[in-house]
Structures are given as structure tokens and as C-alpha cells.
Amino acid sequence: MTDQYKIKRREAFLKILGLAIFTLLAGLISLGVGRYAVSLPDILRTLSGERISPEITQVIWKIRLPRILAGMLVGGALALSGTAYQGMFKNPLVSPDILGSSAGAGFGAAAAILLSMNVAGIKLMSFAFGMLAVMLTWFISSRFGRGNDSLFLLILGGIIISSLFQSLISLVKYVADPTDQLPAITFWLLGSLSKATMSDVKIMAIPFAVCAAILILCSSSLNILALGEEEARTLGVNTKVLRGVVISMATVLTAFAVSLCGMIGWVGLVIPHLARLFVGPNFKVLIPTSLLLGSAYLLIMDDFCRSALAVEIPLGIITSLAGLPFFLYLLTKKNKGW
């Protein structure tokens, strides 16, 4: 019997390892993708510190590497928080912006652009308002909800706060200067990795690693929480603490992601499903799988954005366009269960 468990464990480990290697390879190859193509050997030589030509060094180190790392972090963060929320809300149709963090972050950025802040200011405002929006949602649910209604009120609060910030975004757009501010806001809201810098990556990497590690440690409790609040408590899960931890981690991840590259839809919804098809619903395996799949997915989508047309296509448009048919395809596979 024990052997069977060992085989299962190894199988899951190998799947995650394989995916990790795939993601890393995708990252490496992506360094060569773009209008200035670089071959794989040249990429490896440049990464090991060799200077083949100033252009290659410039393209790899200064332009593509930060963008690719940012894409991996953002994709992983969105997929991770989507997966955790789907478990927490016992609903496979939930995405990371359910509690209003995306709308809040979007408003923060739009307001910062209206106030003519610099890029760092825009990112900071976006992050702050993303966090603020979720805190407001949390406040609504704890102020008006009690006992079993709290999950429902959390979703309701999220809808209220999202629509509040959506309206505020419209208001900002309405008063913004139509020659330069309005296009900047619109472009920012479409989502793009083009403005990501190495310092963004450095700022995000540590919180990302901490949040991911904490969510991985929550995974066996999340399995149980997916069966329902009361049942989870009778199995020894402190649901209040767990919920607080999951919401804070997912909010930090989402707010970071949105502040870094604007609103990128569908990743947090589609990737958890794809990951479940691949490894099943057990969160112990699902969470690391989602993280890696999200990273690889966003990376590949961004490659497409950079290289498909002569001008860059905003990433948010591509993830939505690709996400919809992809999601429909997954729904046809629903007979396997979510």
C-alpha cells in the first residue's frame, strides 16, 4: 500500500519537475524571440557573461530578460491567486479580481496618470489602491455579514467595490486630457509588459516567493476548505485564519501583478482549470502546477504579442482573445469534472 502512495508522489513530483524545466526552457527561448532574433547558443553565451556584440548584450540583459522575468512572475502570481480563490470560494468560476483588486489597481493607476505622476508613482498608486479595494470588500463583508453568509457577502462586497472603482475609472477617463492622458490610461488598462524593468522584478520577486510559499503551505487545508466551511472546521482547520491568509496572499500577488503590467484578464481563471486537467484537483500538487503553468502561459502569450505584428499588441487583449476559446474548450471537457 505504501508503495502505491510512493509511486503517486513520485509521479506528481515528476510532473512538476517536467513543467519547471519546460517553463525555464520557454524562458530561455523567449530571450531570442522578437524583431531582433538571437540564437540559443548566443543567448546562453550572453547569459554566462560573454559579450558577443553590444546589441545582443543590450537586447538580452536590458530589454528582454526583465520583461520575461516580469511575465513569469505576473503569470505565476495571477494563476496562483486564481487557484487559491477557487478553492476558498468553493467555486471553479472565480478569478483573482473577484474581490475588486484589479478594479482598484486600475483606478489607482488611472488617477496617478491624471495627476501626471511618474512611472514609479503610477505603480505605487496602483498597488496601494488594489490593496485598498480588497480591504474595503473585506470591511463590507465583516461589517454586514455574520456566520455562514460571510462567503456570499465577500463576493457581493467584491462586486460592489469593483463597480465602484470601475465607475471611478470612467470618471477619471472623462476628465483626463484627451490628447495625452486618456491614451496613456487606456493603454495602461489594456495591460502590457513593455514597461517592466529589472528593479520591478527585484521588488516583486521576494513578496512573490513568500506568498507562494505560504499558499503552498496552506494547500492541504485548502483541500478541506473546498468541502465547506463547517466540515473543514470539524476536521481541525481554523477556517477564519486560513481565509484571512489566503485573501491577503492572493491580494498582494494580484495587486503586484496589476501594478506591474496593468489588467491582464483570464489568466487567473483559465490556468487553474488547465492545471486541474493536468494533475487533478488536489491543491498540494495543483498550486505549484498552476504557478508554473501560469508563468509559461503568460511568457508564450507575450512572445506572441512581441513578434506577431510589426507593432506590439497589448498583452491584455491577447490573453482575453486566447482565453475565451480556450475556456470554451475546457468547458467541453467538463465531463471529467472541474
Binding site: M1, S220, L227, T234, L235, P281, G337, W338
Partner: protein
């Protein structure tokens, strides 16, 4: 005493559903909680499980007040078997049963050899080993109920609380589940279950707690207290308690009123 309830009133917010309950439950005892729909059986269970704060009174588990128990420690003493449900994700039956080991595991949820053997034992005991790799969402209601019972067995507790464990089961599965429950009681587990079938109070050695109008009106050995008037009081239906077999079994039969056409 394993469970001691003293002057307990329970309900939601200020609305009292059950008042002034006092009873004691000892090791290895089998208790059936009977009462009409909506009388407060589930409310009582939620309060016993610490999911609902009592309005008044006290519950002692192993002589320690319930609020002093941490969730994890309590989960090592009391297991709860809810009515079978369908979760949103297709966990395998084995994964569902393994969740019963959560109170014994650290944050990583690593399954030790002991955890594994408890899970396999529990599935064997309830006859669902063959279902281990099937998705829990795609087995029958009776099988799901058995999986939840297996999870409670894997939880290795002193007490098992079951919420209408046979309410959705066919005749065969009903008998199977009741046999398992008797077996667990025989192994020294304390069983408390709600039920809509008065006959469960006639299971040899079974105690009963009879609820009506927000209070316990009788508690004791099922065969002593579950009489025809008691059944009428709870369910407002004419009935007859029939004795049969050797050793004597009892069953409660409702006497239907009204006539159907072919009977006229």
C-alpha cells in the same frame, strides 16, 4: 464522562431553538436523536461540534469545557459525518478519506506511514477500497455516504457524530450503514446520530434523545422510552410498535389515514 451537557440552550442569534438540555453520553454508547423536521437536531449538532456558540449552559468534552478545545485537538476526539454532498472539485475517494488525517498532520499535509495505513484500513472497513481511485463527485449517493463515514473512521476519534446517515440511502445501503455503525459502537466508539427512522432507537443497546417543542422530553434506553404515544407526540401520526423475532426486535409502523381508490 465523555460528553456532558448541562443546562444548554442553543440557537441562532437571540432565537432560541432548543432550551435547557441536560444529558450525559458515555464511552461506547450509541445515541439516536429523534424529532420532527426543523425541531433543532442540526442546531444541537452544530453546538456540540463547537460550530455554533451556545446561548446558555455548558458542554464538557472529557471534562474540559468545549470553548477551551482548539479545532485541531477537538478533531482528534470528535468526527463529524455530514449528509453526503457534492464538492465542486473531483477529488478522488482516497483523497477525501485521507482528509480525515488532517488533525494529525503538520502544515505540509505529509502522509506518514501511519496516516496511510489508517486511511486504507478505514476504506477496507467500509468496503470502499475498490472506489479509492474514483472521483468522489462521480459515485452514487450511498457510496459518498460510505466515503464520508470512512473519513470519520480514519480520523480515529472517540466520538462520531452523524447527521441523518441513512436519509438518502436505498434499503440495502441503509442496512449496511447501520451495521457499520453498530460495529463501531462495538469497538468502543461513541456514536451520536440524528435520524428520521424511529426504528434506529430499537437497535439493541441504543439510547435515544427525543425532542419536541424546543426541549428534550425523554432520554434513556430507546426501548424504554420510545413508545407509541412518544412517537405520536413527535410526529403527530398514529402508529403501532410491533414486536417480532427472538431475541425480540421492535419496529414502529405508521397507521396511514385516508383511502386510495383501489382500496374503496
Amino acid at each position: 464522562m465523555l460528553i456532558k451537557v448541562d443546562g444548554l440552550s442553543c440557537g441562532y442569534d437571540k432565537k432560541e431553538v432548543l432550551s435547557n438540555l441536560s444529558f450525559e453520553i458515555g464511552e461506547g454508547e450509541l445515541w439516536c436523536v429523534l424529532g420532527s423536521n426543523g425541531i433543532g437536531k442540526s442546531t444541537l449538532f452544530k453546538t456540540l461540534l463547537g460550530l455554533l456558540k451556545p446561548i446558555r449552559g455548558e458542554i464538557l468534552i472529557k471534562d474540559k469545557p468545549l470553548p477551551e478545545w482548539s479545532r485541531k485537538e477537538l478533531a482528534k476526539v470528535i468526527a463529524y459525518v455530514p449528509q453526503s454532498h457534492t464538492p465542486p472539485f473531483p477529488f478522488k475517494v482516497r483523497e477525501i478519506v485521507a482528509m480525515g488525517r488532517h488533525p494529525y498532520q503538520g502544515q505540509t499535509g505529509y502522509m506518514t506511514d501511519e496516516d496511510i495505513s489508517r486511511v486504507e484500513e478505514a476504506m477496507e472497513m467500509t468496503g470502499i477500497t475498490d472506489l479509492a481511485e474514483r472521483p468522489y463527485t462521480r459515485i452514487s449517493g450511498g457510496e459518498r455516504q460510505l466515503a464520508l463515514i470512512a473519513r470519520a473512521v480514519a480520523q480515529s476519534t472517540d466520538v462520531m457524530i452523524l447527521d441523518e446517515p441513512v436519509s438518502n440511502l436505498d434499503f440495502g445501503n441503509h442496512a449496511k450503514v447501520i451495521s457499520y455503525i453498530r460495529e463501531f459502537a462495538g469497538m468502543g466508539k461513541t456514536i451520536i446520530m440524528t435520524t428520521h427512522d424511529p426504528d434506529h432507537a430499537f437497535i439493541p443497546g441504543s439510547h435515544a434523545l427525543l425532542l419536541d417543542e424546543g426541549a428534550v422530553f425523554a432520554s434513556g434506553m430507546g426501548r424504554d422510552i420510545l413508545t407509541e404515544p412518544a412517537v405520536t407526540r413527535m410526529y403527530h401520526v398514529k402508529n403501532k410498535i410491533v414486536r417480532y423475532g427472538e431475541p425480540e426486535g421492535r419496529t414502529c409502523v405508521p397507521l396511514y389515514e385516508g383511502r386510495n381508490k383501489s382500496d374503496q
